[in-house]
């Protein structure tokens, strides 16, 4: 069968002041295929997506959609043509409900021209069921559901647009394995209807599972195009990083002296509304404890409640054997806690601040003089040292952080907390939306922190990450802890079992 | 860079416009005096007032004011600043007085420029600042409305800098160093009007007083004068309220007065907006029961005077207020002596439905 080219870009270059984001890219996307785009952060993937969806105009080169050359493409026009983009950074309106977001700008009207609410909710409910959220009321407000669920709604929105060409930018970054699989099923369904999809992801195993072809970017250039059937993960990674690469991250040493281990944090009887019920757990000194579970299991809520960021109905907290009253993050910080929240755009980035200011905010006391005034040089050096330690890629520390790539932004946020020398670090989805290279760097950083005596709790939805990093894993299901696994028992099978609320088989080894 | 240029351009255009506005005003009087010079010399040559050929105004401008102006023997141009308010129709007459005296003094024998600056409210601070700026601009004299006590300090500064100040229409409550006040004998006017109303209403009758602003000294003097006359005559003052010179507020207040006091016999308005009170009385059909008295004769009030809804109004010669202080100031500059000091009260004409058409023929 003759393969039709639906979207073709030829010799496209995109330059920003001081940065060449794309150099001479030429790609022909075949109709009905799922084309994966991989590359480290800063490689140019997002820029490419923005050009294809009309958000940016290429500095030079041509783009042709369905045989028609597109000049001065805008997102609106792209949408008309049938090009839909699902962003990594969600673009839902917090104050509106799910239905209004899905049908934003296209609310169904009745004969007099008023919004037909019944139809709106009916249609929305149907779409929500299609993306695996049958229990969500379409009238729920976006800000009342968590990040993962929001992403599903984004996909429902795109589905409602019946696009011909779908661009998915890291769609599964907040999803668990099973939800990702469900998304892939939907994608296969769409493919059978002839819809073409562009899939950007860092999850290389997913790419192997779902895509037909793969293009690899590095430093703004298209390195190679591969047929998925003939590709292995190491091939992809080697092209991405430009050097030989071996899979998996292993730590030098996993904690196994639990018999004599000293608890550093003890949480009892934690209750947060309906999200967290009677949770007890202990964190040992020098431990990397993972908390995992399905979306909505209550993992983030546990961390935020202990940190004092959200009110809780009950819960005692003991740090190093002493009872603590934590009513506000400042209490937690004073006790040596730190929290890197999920959803950095909403919860941790100060977009109008520079990189330097983002890093020094919490530990600012260390760069003030005796009168409480800032020492600019000291602030610069302080931020510089942490920025270098975490290898934050930025042209200058005074660069506004909004201009950095996601991975580097996250590193800056981690730097902010490291600078305060915490005893206990909470990480909530620390590598969400970050490329392999940066991920590994972050794993190393975490590992080093443990070696230096910190204790870490990491909430993660990535199975591989949880299995390979954690000394111990707590699995949550529907607000409760459904099980605990030591590193040696933390297999995918066991974790998935506990995640779904099932008990482990008796002979678990 | 583009944004910087855009801002530059916008602001330059803006300032150019302002400069243009300002100079346009400056140019006008200059032209007039030039024309006059030519015409006067022409008149001189032929020995009579008739012109030979060119169409030109020729005639000297008439002195329609209450004082004569001396010839300018200083050999220099004299500059006078006038700061006036324009809160309602009353001020139209005042400004007309100022405009006429400006043209008059622009003639070559007087060689005087008068710059009028208007303000849209009784803001003491703004006028105080304006006086300061006038001092900087080295005016020879300043004429201003005495809007509030807060301008007293600036008046002292002006006098200390050798610039005489004349107040008109309103005087400050505190003592000030202005040379003279040209305006109504406000307390006396209040007393007079109060007496007139007391005669109409009779002992034991009920009246309401609507005053402009408690913070304006002029209004307060009238009010307290009226109050005294009324109380002395045994009239009952049922209510006093502020209408801020607004006819709409006067309308609402009068309606409320009538509602609260169905046997109301009189209303006295101390400042602007009495036509609002007249309208309320007329709407209620009570013009025979209620006597409305007030001050001034604006265009809006005239119909009500003619119809007899307003029974009496006292004039304060707004035209004179706008022009006399300027002439007095001018004279003081030229002669070095103030011919008039202290209070220079303006005429207080009584306008009634009977005589109104003599002054303001329909």
């Amino acid at each position: 069968m003759e393969q039709q080219i639906i979207y073709s870009i030829q010799h496209v270059t995109k330059e920003f002041p001081g940065v060449k984001a794309l150099s001479d890219i030429s790609i022909d996307v075949r109709r009905g295929e799922i084309l994966a785009v991989v590359g480290e952060n800063g490689a140019g993937k997002s820029t490419l997506m923005n050009i294809l969806s009309g958000a940016y105009a290429p500095t030079s080169g041509t783009i042709t959609f369905e045989g028609q050359e597109l000049t001065s493409l805008t997102p609106e026009r792209a949408q008309h043509l049938g090009i839909a983009m699902i962003h990594q950074e969600l673009s839902l309106s917090n104050a509106l409900n799910l239905a209004e977001n899905i049908f934003e700008g296209r609310l169904p009207k009745n004969s007099i021209g008023l919004v037909d609410r019944r139809k709106l909710y009916q249609e929305s409910k149907r779409l929500l069921e299609e993306v695996g959220l049958p229990n969500l009321d379409p009238r729920t407000l976006v800000r009342d559901i968590n990040v993962s669920q929001q992403q599903m709604v984004e996909i429902a929105k795109a589905l409602s647009l019946n696009a011909k060409f779908l661009i998915l930018d890291e769609p599964t970054s907040s999803l668990t394995v099973s939800e990702a699989e469900y998304l892939h099923e939907i994608m296969r369904r769409l493919k059978s209807k002839g819809i073409t999809m562009l899939y950007i992801s860092h999850k290389l195993d997913e790419i192997l599972a779902i895509s037909d072809r793969i293009v690899v970017f590095r430093d703004g250039r298209l390195i190679t195009t591969m047929e998925t059937a003939a590709t292995q993960i190491n091939d992809m990674v080697s092209s991405m990083v430009g050097r030989e690469y071996s899979a998996g991250y292993t730590r030098a040493h996993y904690k196994n002296d639990y018999a004599t281990a000293e608890p550093i944090l003890k949480v009892s009887n934690l209750n947060v509304g309906k999200k967290v019920k009677n949770v007890d757990f202990t964190l040992y000194k020098g431990e990397l404890l993972g908390i995992t579970g399905l979306v909505g299991a209550g993992r983030s809520e546990v961390l935020q409640a202990v940190f004092g960021a959200d009110p809780r109905q009950s819960g005692e907290i003991e740090i190093e054997g002493q009872k603590c009253r934590i009513r506000h993050p400042s209490d937690a910080i004073a006790r040596g806690l730190a929290l890197v929240p999920e959803g950095r755009k909403l919860q941790s980035l100060f977009l109008k601040f520079s990189v330097k200011e983002n890093i020094t905010l919490v530990a600012m006391k260390q760069v003030l003089n005796r009168c409480g005034l800032l020492k600019p040089r000291k602030e610069y050096e302080f931020a510089d040292s942490f920025s270098k330690r975490l290898r934050v890629k930025t042209p200058s520390l005074d660069q506004k952080i909004v201009n950095l790539s996601g991975g580097n932004q996250q590193k800056a946020v981690i730097a902010r907390w490291l600078a305060n020398q915490p005893k206990i670090l909470f990480l909530d989805e620390p590598t969400q939306g970050i490329d392999i290279g940066a991920k590994n760097e972050i794993y190393e950083i975490i590992d080093e922190m443990i070696r230096q005596g910190a204790s870490v709790i990491m909430v993660s939805s990535e199975m591989q990450e949880t299995i390979s990093l954690c000394d111990r894993v707590l699995v949550m299901y529907e607000g409760e802890i459904s099980g605990e696994l030591y590193h040696k028992d933390a297999t995918e099978k066991n974790i998935v079992t506990l995640m779904s609320g099932q008990a482990l088989p008796v002979s678990a080894s | 860079m583009k944004k910087v240029l855009a801002l530059l351009l916008a602001l330059t255009m803006l300032m150019g416009t302002l400069a243009g506005c300002g100079s346009a005003q400056e140019n006008a009087p200059a032209n007039d005096s030039q024309t006059n010079t030519e015409d006067n010399s022409a008149a001189g040559d032929t020995g009579d007032t008739g012109n030979t050929g060119d169409a030109a105004p020729a005639d000297e401008i008439e002195n329609t004011f209450n004082y004569e102006a001396v010839e300018n023997t200083t050999g220099e141009e004299i500059r006078i600043a006038v700061l006036t308010t324009q809160t309602n129709a009353f001020w139209v007459d005042v400004c007309k007085g100022t405009e006429d005296v400006t043209k008059f003094l622009a003639q070559p024998q007087y060689n005087c420029t008068v710059d009028m600056q208007t303000f849209d409210n009784f803001d003491g601070q703004a006028i105080s600042e304006a006086i300061d700026t006038c001092i900087t601009m080295e005016y020879d004299a300043i004429c201003t409305v005495g809007v509030a006590d807060s301008i007293a300090t600036s008046i002292s500064k002006a006098v200390a800098a050798g610039i005489p100040v004349y107040l008109f229409n309103s005087n400050t409550g505190v003592e000030n160093e202005a040379t003279a006040f040209v305006g109504q004998d406000l307390y006396g006017a209040g007393e007079k009007l109060g007496g007139i109303l007391a005669d109409m209403v009779g002992e034991g009758g009920k009246v309401g007083i609507i005053t402009g602003l408690y913070s304006v000294n002029a209004h307060e003097l009238r009010r307290t004068g009226a109050e005294k006359a009324l109380t002395d005559a045994g009239v009952e003052i049922v209510a006093t309220a502020e209408n801020h010179d607004s006819s709409d507020e006067a309308y609402s207040l009068t309606k409320d007065l009538i509602t609260a006091n169905p046997d109301l016999k009189g209303v006295l308005v101390t400042a602007g907006g009495p036509e609002g009170a007249a309208r309320a009385i007329e709407e209620a059909g009570l013009q025979d029961q209620i006597s409305l008295v007030c001050f001034d004769t604006t265009a809006e009030m005239l119909p009500y005077i003619r119809e007899g809804v307003i029974k009496c109004t006292l004039g304060q010669d707004p035209y004179g207020q706008g022009s006399d202080p300027v002439i007095l100031a001018y004279n003081e500059i030229v002669t070095g002596e103030a011919a008039v000091t202290g209070d220079a009260f303006t005429e207080m004409t009584e306008y009634t439905p009977d005589n109104i058409n003599e002054y303001f023929p329909e």
Partner: protein, 321 residues
């Protein structure tokens, strides 16, 4: 990739929003020097600076509030109440001037506290809250003064009408407040927190910042500055009446916005607010010097605000791309 030390470089300076406003100020200055022979007289410059000092002092407080994303519409009436209270306490109650000073500032702080608590604890919109409190305060002024002006003679008047050499004391006060405010905003932890809150309130809370306390603090600061300004104004005119402070909020907000503080919060500087105040002050001076009628004044000020905000918008949108 080499990292350059760029803090305070000339290049960085020109990119800031304050730079374009500074250019605007210089343009107006230059044009005015040609348009009127009186503009550059020392006398006039000092007058203008003194007139600016009124909203210059308050604009520090307003800038801090707006950086957190709030707004304060009650500044004008707070100034009036403070001026009248100072005059009342001095003239009628015959309190000693140090006590008057403290009491009036305390009153300003309390007004700010009320505003702040209503915004943070009761969680009402600042616009509505301060609009409402401004009405209450204006009523209080009338209750206090019965609409009559109050005369004031006191050593405190030196703040408003005193001179140090050719320079009015109020101008010196204004610069002190601006310098203090600027140091506070850019060089202290609390100042940094204020910007953080305006940037991303949730992230600020998660970073340990006591958001409610800090937001209340900026309203208190503004209240105190308004009270101080009230004393200055009363001292300048030797009189206080209910009409003072009318329309201050418009001028102050305009100055702050022109100077680069964004209505959405999180950015802007105190010096920018000063430049904005200077632009407005010089424009008002221009009106008198060039004899422009008062009707045009409002039109022009409005246009300047629109121009400044539009340019701010363009700059923000450009940054986002």
């Amino acid at each position: 990739m080499k990292s350059k030390q760029e803090f305070g470089g000339l290049r960085a300076f020109t990119k800031r929003s304050e730079f374009s406003v500074l250019i605007g100020l210089m343009v107006i200055f230059i044009v005015m020097s040609f348009a009127s022979p009186y503009f550059l007289k020392l006398n006039n410059i000092m007058n203008v600076l003194q007139q600016i000092s009124r909203y210059g002092i308050i604009s520090v407080g307003m800038a801090l509030i707006m950086i957190t994303g709030g707004i304060d519409l009650s500044v004008g009436y707070t100034v009036a109440l403070s001026a009248c209270m100072a005059a009342h306490l001095t003239t009628n109650v015959k309190m000693a001037w140090p006590a008057v000073f403290l009491v009036v500032l305390l009153m300003g702080a309390v007004i700010g506290l009320v505003n702040g608590l209503l915004v943070t604890k009761v969680k009402l919109w600042p616009f509505i809250v301060t609009l409402a409190t401004s009405k209450i305060i204006s009523g209080c002024v009338l209750l206090l003064t019965s609409g009559m002006p109050i005369h004031i003679e006191s050593p405190l008047c030196w703040l408003g009408s005193g001179y140090v050499g050719p320079v009015p004391v109020s101008v010196i006060m204004m610069f002190l407040v601006i310098i203090g405010g600027s140091i506070f905003a850019s060089m202290t932890q609390t100042g940094r927190n204020i910007y953080a809150i305006g940037n991303n309130e949730r992230a600020a809370a998660l970073s340990g910042i006591r958001v409610e306390r800090t937001k209340t603090l900026v309203y208190v600061i503004c209240g105190i500055l308004c009270a101080f300004c009230g004393i200055v104004v009363a001292g300048n005119l030797n009189s206080a009446d209910a009409g003072l402070g009318a329309g201050y909020e418009t001028d102050v907000i305009a100055a702050v916005v022109i100077g680069g503080v964004s209505m959405s919060g999180g950015e802007g500087s105190i010096w920018g607010a000063l430049i904005g105040a200077m632009i407005i002050g010089i424009l008002k001076n221009a009106f008198i010097l060039l004899k422009v009628s008062s009707y045009w004044q409002s039109v022009v000020i409005g246009l300047v605000i629109i121009a400044a905000v539009t340019i701010d918008r363009i700059r923000t949108v450009r940054k986002a791309k």
